[in-house]
Symmetry: C2
Subunit: 415 residues, 2 copies
């Protein structure tokens, strides 16, 4: 074929704005994803991402799983597959969920491209433009990003050391009714090692939450990416244990195995499954077959359990290192949460310091964090707060990064 | 933890309908995905799916790629990565696209979970509820399913042996304006080996289409999953070659490498990239890192090119086998297209036979196809047509399946 075309010619720039859907006005890039680009500079200490420790990825076991799958089941692992997900993996997950307190069978489980896709599918199935969502302030940034595309609005309840302040839910519900004339689409809860807050919803509050949402006939989205990563204290029953009929529970392999596979799941009432499966079909037909086979192989061999145990020990050490470094290097007037698991803690600095402005100083010192305001869906808080990740960096890097931030904070406070 | 909970208790069934978004009324399961379940019965001859030949998946090369990646780049391949996609793969794709006539650089390319996700992201970025889309009748089912979730409507132009009847576009555009008071969101075109039609848009019509959409200021979605699978004739320039400033071009590895990896891409004007990247971030953060590394490795080694050559030969043989069998076994009054590539042909049976009803008979004969009406977004045609896939089954199976369908057709016509 000879096209006789000049591919280096200047392509005209079209004005695409008039062609776009109204919802694009509500869509923005994630502050975290944009920060990810900055922190790829190798000399920056990154407390900003939500990245698992790369030094613990089970490369050998994944390699073995790949070889085994290609030998035994290669053609099926590379083919199109069911929208619901790979059945043996759904069997493994439903067993694991039952041990965790969730009454799931394979008919309740849909595999997704990580939890982020679960959030998107929930938006597609539940949110009409202008609908309100109840959530904590602060809350997970990625959820806001997923749902903004469906033109949602937010009413929030506070977060404290026992997690979401459940006492405030009914009042927030009333505000939603008053503002929009209809109930919220659902309430979004991160019960374990909250992102970004680092705190855990107490058992008493879980029970109280189950009661109040039942009274209000509210659906619950329970997002639990870190539940397996508890370093201290006992597991608490998922909210789904109390009210499975109205809870959509989200899990993921991103924090226990590897985020680069993009394998997560929804566990939900069977009557909802058809809705999510339809949404999933339209979104991308199904989650990657090959990566589901890999995750399944790693799980069925029993390897994941022992791997998660190792992660817990490593992340506990990193959390302890960060807590100690904060005590040692940060000025007075600062405070932080003491997460019992997960990847993040939430730190507050004196009110004189705005953490959006301070980020520039921090980056000059070659340290990155996420400013607190980004986690407030209505931008009404977090001005002197920041999220710090402790899972990604080795302990000596954590100490150095917290030290650098401490020096910068003290200098800023000094004037 | 002792929950003291009876996980086998009867979970109450909630009425979820009042909680759902209005758009769910427009969402339905794909007829093809539902058929996929039926055809998993092993004795059914499946002409219904769009599955590549499993006997040609390059298992050895994928295994080598996995091992190499895990050894050389394992931690990065398992970690979160950029929403735009893996840079070396975007470099490979932009080079390949330029050779194909598309003026792309890495800044024009976004990796997606197969083309299906590209269709979904296009829906999210372009479609307001009630918007019209221009497309051919018949058209690709998966596109309709993706866009129905955004509450789109459709005006259609006919498809003939030279592809979409471009002469009808302006009239369809006028109908959209009259019906909705605004232009269509875009026109959707499958130029090569149309799914389900099997026909290819002629070069004259491509040029004519470029002129008419420019005159109408219409955006074009050019979906080209099969372009590399041409068995006869010369490659024709993509529509994007003529009007890159207004074309969103979609490609995929699903038909050349393996669908189970879920790796496809969008090539679009740079001014649109930020929109798609935002939509992608909200949808699932990024396409699987590991599978992108695998696809990249297979491409960079130059293996894909020779693999596609093998596929072309194999699919040509299967197409020829199907064409010969149709001539031999089917009754008079039937007709079918003669695809120059791809996976499908479109067959018409005498008008006395409704292919939706006839499917039951076909399944009794242990053969499956997709009834034509499913490919008509307004259900206004295809009643005596069916889509037949020739890529999936071995030649002897193709002969037997077409023979069985022929017997059933003759019996139905006889009485």
């Amino acid at each position: 074929m000879d096209l006789n075309m000049d591919l280096d010619r200047k392509v005209p720039v079209l004005d695409w704005e008039p062609h776009l859907a109204a919802r694009t006005k509500h869509m923005h890039s994630s502050a975290i994803r944009e920060l990810l680009k900055i922190i790829q500079q190798p000399d920056i200490i990154a407390f900003s991402g939500g990245l698992p420790a790369p030094d613990f990825f089970p490369l050998r076991e994944v390699g073995e799983a790949c070889q085994y799958i290609l030998q035994e089941n290669g053609a099926k692992a590379m083919q199109y597959s069911a929208s619901e997900g790979y059945l043996p993996l759904r069997e493994y997950l439903s067993d694991a969920l039952r041990k965790y307190g969730i009454p799931a069978t394979t008919d309740n489980i849909l595999l997704t491209n990580g939890s982020q896709q679960a959030l998107d599918l929930i938006g597609k199935v539940f949110i009409d433009p202008g609908d309100y969502i109840l959530t904590s302030r602060p809350t997970y940034l990625g959820a806001i990003q997923a749902w903004n595309a469906y033109q949602s609005r937010y009413h929030t309840v506070n977060l404290d050391d026992d997690g979401m302040v459940v006492d405030e839910i009914e009042h927030a519900y009333d505000k939603v009714l008053a503002d929009s004339g209809k109930p919220p689409s659902f309430i979004y809860v991160l019960p374990n090692f909250h992102n970004p807050g680092g705190t855990t919803l107490s058992q008493a509050r879980r029970e109280q939450l189950a009661d109040v949402v039942t009274k209000l006939d509210l659906a619950v989205v329970e997002d639990d990416p870190y539940g397996q990563l508890r370093f201290e204290g006992d597991d608490l029953p998922p909210i789904c244990t109390y009210i499975p009929e109205r809870t959509i529970y989200l899990g993921t392999f991103s924090k226990t195995l590897a985020p680069g596979f993009r394998v997560g799941w929804i566990s939900c009432p069977e009557v909802l499954m058809q809705r999510f499966v339809q949404a999933k079909q339209g979104a991308d037909l199904h989650t990657g077959t090959f990566v589901q086979y890999v995750a399944n192989d790693i799980c069925q061999r029993g390897f994941l359990k022992q791997h998660v145990k190792r992660l817990r020990e490593a992340y506990k050490e990193r959390r302890d290192t960060m807590l100690d470094a904060l005590t040692e290097f940060w000025p007075s007037g600062c405070s932080w949460t003491h997460p019992e698991g997960g990847l993040f803690l939430w730190a507050k600095v004196p009110e004189a310091i705005n953490t959006v402005d301070f980020l520039e100083t921090a980056l000059e010192e070659r340290v990155a964090y996420v400013p607190g305001v980004h986690f407030y869906p209505n931008q009404d808080g977090g001005l002197n707060a920041m999220r710090l990740n402790f899972s990604y960096s080795r302990t000596e890097i954590i100490v150095e990064g917290i030290r650098r931030l401490g020096v910068a904070l003290k200098r800023r406070l000094a004037g």
